[in-house]
């Protein structure tokens, strides 16, 4: 991935960020809403858990990556700290509304962005094995079909049917849509195309207006939408540029691939969600997702290369006690995965399953078998939510 150096203005214009809102109840849908709502923040490119949540109690940390370590971090306990730019997260942990899971990963070990991203969104047993995503399947199990707010349909939200996308267009000279014309077009298309044209006509009328499409503005918008009566129960936001092969947390804090800068962006997204959600925060769970962590050792250019385990960040009013959940594997050469990466000791699918169970009120065994196709997936609900 590139070494961007964009000004903030450029970033707003072309951030590549996108928002997906899903599970907006269709009209006439009368069943009770699930107990909570669930939002996923995808940290695209491979977030470095050792930078976000440094295990300063591990003597090998400094030895392995002194040149990119910041000596300023926020202390969480006697072993773990938080990156100094994660101020919102820190304050949420102080009021017991956020937790960390560390040394955790989806069981994907081959370090490819594209296989890894497919795996973490699809939630199948291997990359490219699923045409649907784990959140889409969960929403279907909870019987909450609806819309996703996006230009394209992200894999994570694809269900077997019933999902839809919406993202306001800004095309000059395009007047209102002629409903009967679109009806007629839908009739000549075969099933798949026809269904889509029907949705253009029927889609919900959420409007984003001319708001900037940067992740922070999108998060606040998503929060507000979720807080509405009959609003969506799920949202997904992508924050790109975590692939810090060079200068990841060093010298130039404005470099677009600076990990600290992008963690701060994530922190602002978290704050924007909270602001947008308002009282609905109490029923919310927000979790991060990243395709892999990064190498323990620094590479030749003050960066880190593709690794295995990372950290997951959970926030929202549904968290009632702040903790760092980890079975720490250690950082010495022999403790690393294949002599280079942080080892994973917690299957992150179990974390996702616990969040689905809490927010959508589904049974763990059902989630394990129908969402992740892994009936023996360990349940760690109590470790996170008790």
């Amino acid at each position: 991935m590139p070494n961007f150096k964009l000004s903030r203005r450029d970033f707003l214009k072309a951030s590549g960020a996108s928002l997906f809102l899903a599970g907006i109840p269709l009209q006439g849908y009368t069943e009770d809403k699930p107990p909570g709502n669930i939002s996923v923040i995808i940290l695209e490119g491979g977030m470095d858990g050792l930078t976000a949540v440094p295990p300063f109690g591990d003597p090998n940390l400094v030895a392995m990556r002194e040149s990119i370590m910041s000596d300023k971090y926020l202390k969480l306990n006697s072993f773990f700290g938080l990156h100094s730019r994660l101020k919102t997260l820190s304050s949420l942990m102080a009021i017991d509304n956020a937790s960390i899971v560390h040394a955790t990963a989806f069981p994907y070990k081959k370090r490819s962005h594209f296989e890894g991203q497919d795996f973490m969104e699809g939630g199948g047993l291997s990359p490219f094995s699923q045409k649907t995503g784990w959140l889409g399947r969960s929403l279907e199990l909870a019987k909450i079909p609806g819309s996703a707010l996006s230009l394209n349909m992200p894999l994570i939200l694809r269900g077997y049917s019933e999902n839809d996308t919406y993202f306001p267009a800004s095309i000059r000279h395009s007047t209102s849509l002629n409903a009967s014309l679109i009806d007629a077009i839908s009739k000549v298309h075969s099933k798949a195309g026809s269904d889509i044209f029907k949705k253009i006509r029927n889609k919900s009328r959420l409007t984003l207006g001319n708001k900037p499409r940067d992740p922070v503005s999108l998060a606040e918008y998503a929060g507000k939408a979720i807080a509405q009566k009959n609003g969506p129960v799920a949202s997904v936001i992508r924050i790109p540029l975590f692939d810090s092969h060079a200068h990841q947390d060093y010298k130039d804090p404005h470099s677009a691939l600076n990990h600290g800068r992008n963690l701060e962006k994530f922190d602002q997204v978290l704050a924007a969600y909270k602001k947008g959600l308002g009282d609905a925060w109490d029923n919310s769970i927000i979790l991060t997702l990243t395709e892999f962590g990064r190498t323990v050792k620094v590479n030749g250019s003050w960066g880190t290369d593709h690794g295995f385990a990372s950290a997951g960040i959970l926030a929202g009013g549904l968290i009632s006690k702040a903790r760092v959940i980890a079975d720490w594997p250690g950082l010495s050469n022999s403790e690393q995965f294949e002599g280079r990466d942080l080892m994973s000791t917690i299957d992150y699918r179990s974390v996702c399953a616990a969040c689905i169970e809490r927010a959508l009120g589904l049974d763990h065994d059902l989630i394990a078998s129908e969402v992740f196709f892994e009936s023996k997936l360990p349940r760690i609900f109590d470790e996170i939510f008790s």
């Binding site: 991935m1 150096k5 962005h113 095309i171 195309g193 250019s301």
Partner: protein
């Protein structure tokens, strides 16, 4: 659709109204491979197409020099010097020195006015395969890479194209190889002595194997990736004044982009998938030649070509046919592309078209004036949408920030109501502001529209509705009819 337009849709960009239809369409398609054309465009909205002016087609050295002037002016503005901090100065700085808008417009013009439609489709396929996502550091280089590393290699071999794009400054910057240095190189030894960080960066090495050639099916190891990164050490070259002047001083010129620095390169042999690669500048060409003819590369890319030009779900026999041409002709792109053309024609299956391909086809068929001329680079039209905005709203651009795996050719990745609504809206907008010279009836006659399309279009009283219906019909979108 008649055979002429069926083939022009799958493999080209559609015949413009003034273009005579060839007698033998298959022969035409094969001949297109060898019919290059200069970049064609328009200076103003209503102008006749002509060649792009030389001043808007700078070489790499001129591009680097403009970037240096841009950075200089940017620096002055940050220091508040010479009125360079004003909004007007900023606009001038962007317009004069940066290439993105010029290159974007040239790409669009070529696709709308060019007679080399089949070559242009191949150009877009390979540009997407070798994605260089947008970055401020190297936006000067993207358009150059499309012209000089991709299009200039359409009639060479896959190996030559692979080597050209891998060594292009756009790619070397995008995938961080400018930071890659051999752990045992003189450069790293010196840096270490001074207590500074320097060494390996495997970003380009990994994607060279995973995306550009073998694909994960080859089951290469992390050691293979590391050794590939080692072969790539020494290859770099940032587009800044310092590098430029250094090269001009050393070599007397800077326009040849093959920049190799022995000082940063890793000494010693490297082994990749059992193949020994020798140290030095020639090692990379040895590696790209090896990868270009590896069986996994052949199968990976034969399938990708078939998915783009033949069918969303190509038959195994079609993929094998392309792969055989690759194998037997040692990666000769003319032979590979010939095989693709033959299979795209013989397979009667429809092929879903990318949003931007669809828009180019629509503009060619209808003779609409929807795109600015190059004089608008100085004075934007108050009426027409800017080219960059069109791409953004279409959801597809070779100048957007994106991941190195590029855009999918499969319809399932583009089938959403939002993407389809964009088609309805763009068709509508083209009709309203582009004032097509061809009516829907004239277009249907020329392409030989099928019965289902004619029924759909003819029931509407206004040409505007007819136009939207025609362009969003399954036939024009490359989808099957109900």
């Amino acid at each position: 659709m008649n055979e002429h337009f069926r083939i022009a849709q799958k493999l080209g960009l559609m015949f413009r109204p003034e273009e005579p239809l060839p007698k033998d369409i298959e022969a035409w398609a094969l001949k297109q491979l060898y019919s290059p054309s200069p970049a064609i465009g328009i200076d103003g909205v209503e102008s006749e197409p002509t060649s792009w002016p030389k001043s808007l087609r700078p070489n790499l050295e001129e591009r680097a020099r403009m970037r240096a002037l841009y950075m200089d002016s940017d620096k002055k503005s940050k220091l508040g010097i010479d009125g360079e901090e004003t909004a007007k100065a900023l606009e001038i700085r962007h317009r004069k020195y940066l290439m993105r808008k010029k290159d974007e417009l040239k790409y669009v013009h070529r696709n709308i006015y060019g007679s080399d439609q089949l070559r242009l489709r191949l150009m877009s396929f390979w540009t997407n395969h070798f994605t260089i996502g947008y970055g401020h550091d190297y936006e000067q280089a993207i358009g150059h890479a499309i012209d000089e590393a991709i299009l200039a290699n359409i009639n060479t071999s896959f190996s030559s194209m692979l080597y050209s794009i891998t060594t292009h400054p756009g790619m070397l910057n995008y995938l961080d190889n400018t930071h890659n240095a051999g752990p045992n190189s003189e450069y790293v030894k010196r840096m270490k002595k001074e207590g500074k960080q320097a060494g390996l960066n495997d970003n380009l090495g990994r994607e060279l194997l995973e995306l550009h050639t073998l694909s994960p099916s080859a089951n290469y190891t992390e050691t293979d990736i590391r050794n590939t990164a080692l072969v790539l050490t020494g290859w770099g070259g940032e587009m800044n004044e310092y590098t430029l002047n250094k090269r001009i001083k050393k070599e007397g010129k800077a326009n040849d982009w093959i920049v190799y620095d022995q000082f940063r390169s890793e000494p010693g042999n490297k082994t990749i998938l059992g193949k020994t690669i020798y140290p030095g500048k020639n090692g990379l060409r040895q590696l790209t030649d090896f990868l270009a003819l590896n069986e996994h590369t052949i199968m990976h890319l034969s399938r990708k070509l078939a998915e783009h030009f033949v069918s969303d779900v190509p038959k195994k026999t079609d993929v094998d046919f392309i792969a055989n041409a690759w194998r037997q002709n040692k990666g000769d792109l003319n032979k590979i592309h010939t095989a693709v053309i033959e299979k795209a024609i013989s397979s009667k299956e429809e092929k879903f078209q990318w949003p931007m391909t669809w828009l180019f086809q629509l503009l060619r068929l209808s003779e609409a004036t929807y795109i600015e001329g190059w004089t608008n680079l100085k004075l934007p039209s108050r009426y027409l949408m800017k080219t960059g905005d069109i791409f953004e709203e279409l959801g597809q651009s070779f100048w957007s920030i994106r991941q190195p795996n590029g855009y999918s050719s499969k319809k399932e990745d583009w089938m959403s109501s939002e993407m389809f609504e964009r088609r309805v809206r763009f068709a509508d907008a083209v009709w309203q502001s582009g004032k097509p010279k061809q009516t829907p009836a004239m277009i249907m006659d020329r392409i030989g529209a099928n019965k289902s399309t004619r029924n759909l279009v003819s029931r509407w009283g206004t040409q505007q509705s007819q136009f939207v219906a025609l362009m969003c019909s399954p036939e024009l979108m490359g989808l099957e009819n109900a």
